[in-house]
């Protein structure tokens, strides 16, 4: 019984953090070059874009939602932006169009979930497909769109501070802003109330619906930033990423870090822990030269484990059972 109690006192974030530390120490001892500062920077960088997307996802999930359109928004908005630039649209105008488009999709997601009461999983699945299909067929001519030479996006990719790539600072900065938002602002705190019990939150006068819309707009905006950083590093954006496992990896980072899918729990720290585990894991597996098939298997096994542990530690409560989660 005592062991059970100890287990209960250890939450998922703690478990995952412990796994990450164990992996880190094992890799540091067993793998030559792993502990090298440059490799550590590379690890953080490799999960920066993923982590940024996971921050947006985290805020949505805490409010008991999910945003499956994030990757489509990330890739397609930037692809459209670059296409506009390549066909000679002035930069300011092109960026205004794209920003307006991104915010419009965020608003649409939020409106449909908040006011039309359509489940978030269906809304965002549909808008994601719509964004991909529309942009791919109507606005751009091929999968990969290059960044025009000498454009600020290209320069952004080469930006370093103390030899650390810019993505790392953007990730850190956004993580800090999200932390402040969730912890110290009224609307940030309200997200937890709304995620934990939407009906009670509305009864005590919290503007649940406008806040819901805000979260999807935030997620869409964060996706745009992630897309710009991707294009900055690769000097192009390939819309094929929409078909990749990136979306699942984002959910993986959030959930594995301990943000319960039933809402109301978790924060920025969970995203950081989840991203750290994935980063260390992928880096170590690449150094050992494990084939991709097995990498996916190992990643999937860890996600499954995290979900099972989440189910045991954060059991469905009466409210969730009645209202359902995402």
């Amino acid at each position: 019984m005592g062991g059970w109690l100890n287990f209960r006192s250890l939450n998922q974030e703690g478990i995952v953090f412990a796994i990450a530390v164990v992996l880190f120490v094992a890799a540091a001892i067993g793998l030559p070059g792993f502990i090298d500062p440059n490799n550590l920077v590379a690890i953080v960088r490799s999960v920066s874009v993923l982590g940024i997307l996971a921050l947006g996802m985290a805020v949505v999930i805490i409010g008991r939602g999910i945003d499956l359109s994030a990757v489509a928004i990330m890739a397609m908005s930037v692809a459209w932006y670059l296409q506009l630039l390549n066909t000679g649209t002035p930069d300011g105008l092109a960026f205004t169009y794209v920003l307006a488009g991104v915010l419009a999709i965020g608003l649409l997601n939020g409106f449909l979930v908040a006011y039309a009461d359509v489940p978030a999983i269906f809304v965002t699945l549909a808008t994601g497909s719509f964004v991909f299909g529309y942009v791919r067929s109507q606005l751009i001519t091929q999968d990969a769109v290059p960044v025009p030479q000498g454009h600020w996006v290209e320069l952004l990719g080469g930006l370093r501070f103390l030899d650390v790539p810019i993505e790392v600072f953007v990730f850190a900065g956004l993580a800090f802003l999200f932390f402040l938002f969730l912890r110290y602002t009224k609307w940030g705190r309200y997200i937890y109330f709304a995620g934990d019990n939407p009906v009670a939150a509305r009864n005590i006068g919290i503007p649940v619906r406008p806040m819901l819309v805000l979260r999807y707009v935030l997620s869409a905006f964060v996706a745009l930033i992630a897309g710009l950083l991707t294009a900055a590093s690769l000097h192009s954006i390939n819309t094929r990423v929409v078909n990749s496992t990136l979306l699942y990896d984002i959910v993986l980072v959030a959930v594995i870090g301990g943000i319960g899918l039933s809402g109301g729990r978790g924060g920025v720290r969970n995203v950081l822990v989840g991203a750290a585990l994935i980063g260390i894991l992928l880096n170590a597996m690449t150094i050992i030269d494990i084939p991709l098939l097995y990498q996916n298997l190992i990643k999937a096994a860890i996600l499954l484990g995290a979900i099972i542990v989440d189910g045991i530690i954060n059991p469905r409560d009466e409210q969730t059972a009645q209202q359902g989660d995402i």
């Binding site: 990969a144 790539p165 690769l234 390939n238 094929r240």
Partner: protein
């Protein structure tokens, strides 16, 4: 001598007759037979996706030729989704306007085998392009990936030079696509003959540029003295090149890749030194091969599935030194040409 003189006289006489003979034939029977066999025939291209250079180039050249002989040309866009491609092929076979020739870009060795068999049973010729599959198609047109891998390895060895670290890194595609598997086999064949060269890492990119960047970063981190990297596709080699750029190893790591020979994707990057060598497919010639085999099959009178021809495209590794104005084809120019019509 007399005999030779007689023979020469005879030959001259024959040549003169042959030269004069056509005036007696009122019509060349060729064009009529050609038109009769081809007119109204349907050709459909199902690539992995319509959104990348190779598929757009093939479609351009095929459409031009097929429409010129009075046929219909269509494409389907599975957008990299295997199921969507299977659906497109199924629909095509069972529709009233079943294509007479189906050109398929297979995603892996096995996925479409049953469907292709069905198509042949329905009377449709199946031509595989670019990616081989475990299926006896009427024809395969594309690269000999094993040979292509050998060319890449030879270019990498040359790019490294005798006084280098002789360490080579590979960024493979995946472990399912025949182009990736055979490319790897070809590379290893050459490296086996050069035992002093070593492959220090061979991660997969899953054809994704960000993954390619991340694994290449790790690879360079572990082995900063790598002299050459072979990335299995120019579609994701932008990631490997970003990692090299970030590690400030431009000019020190000779990046070899393969692609469709499109100007912006390949030649421009050879020119600016991003790639050291690219094994490029001569797209116009490859499309020409497809057009020829389509015309042959439709006139042959043989039922679908009764012959198997392999037409490998001639490949070579191109470097900055042997770039010529016509080394690449220009997708933008083709699109402009299509838009002007």
């Amino acid at each position: 001598m007399k005999l030779i003189r007689t023979l020469m006289a005879a030959a001259t006489a024959l040549a003169v007759t042959a030269f004069v003979a056509p005036t007696f034939a009122a019509d060349d029977p060729g064009p009529a037979a050609y038109a009769q066999a081809l007119k109204g025939k349907r050709v459909m291209l199902v690539p992995l996706a319509m959104g990348f250079d190779l598929a757009q180039g093939w479609a351009h050249y095929l459409k031009k030729e097929v429409e010129a002989w009075g046929g219909t040309f269509e494409t389907r866009d599975p957008n990299w989704v295997v199921d969507a491609g299977a659906q497109a092929i199924t629909d095509a076979i069972s529709s009233d306007t079943r294509p007479d020739v189906l050109i398929i870009h297979a995603p892996d060795l096995n996925s479409y085998s049953k469907l292709m068999k069905k198509a042949q049973a329905a009377g449709t010729y199946v031509i595989l392009v670019d990616n081989p599959a475990n299926f006896p198609a009427d024809a395969f047109v594309g690269s000999d990936w094993d040979r292509l891998g050998q060319l890449e390895a030879e270019a990498a060895i040359k790019g490294c030079g005798e006084n280098s670290s002789k360490k080579i890194g590979l960024v493979q595609g995946d472990q399912a696509n025949s182009s990736s598997l055979y490319q790897y086999a070809g590379i290893m064949k050459v490296l086996d003959k050069h035992p002093d060269f070593k492959v220090v890492a061979k991660p997969d990119s899953n054809w994704d540029a960000t993954t390619s960047r991340n694994v290449t970063t790790t690879m360079l981190q572990q082995n900063p003295d790598i002299c050459s990297i072979i990335d299995f596709w120019d579609g994701d080699a932008t990631g490997a090149s970003a990692a090299i750029r970030d590690a400030k190893l431009d000019g020190k790591v000779f990046l070899v890749t393969t692609g469709g020979g499109e100007k912006a994707a390949d030649c421009d990057k050879l020119q600016d030194g991003t790639y050291g060598a690219v094994v490029m497919t001569e797209l116009a010639r490859q499309s020409g091969d497809m057009n020829a085999i389509i015309k042959f099959l439709l006139q042959s009178g043989q039922p679908a599935g009764t012959s198997h021809t392999y037409i490998y495209t001639l490949e070579k590794a191109t470097t900055k030194a042997d770039l010529k104005p016509d080394s690449c084809w220009d997708l933008k120019a083709l699109q402009a040409e299509a838009a002007a019509k």
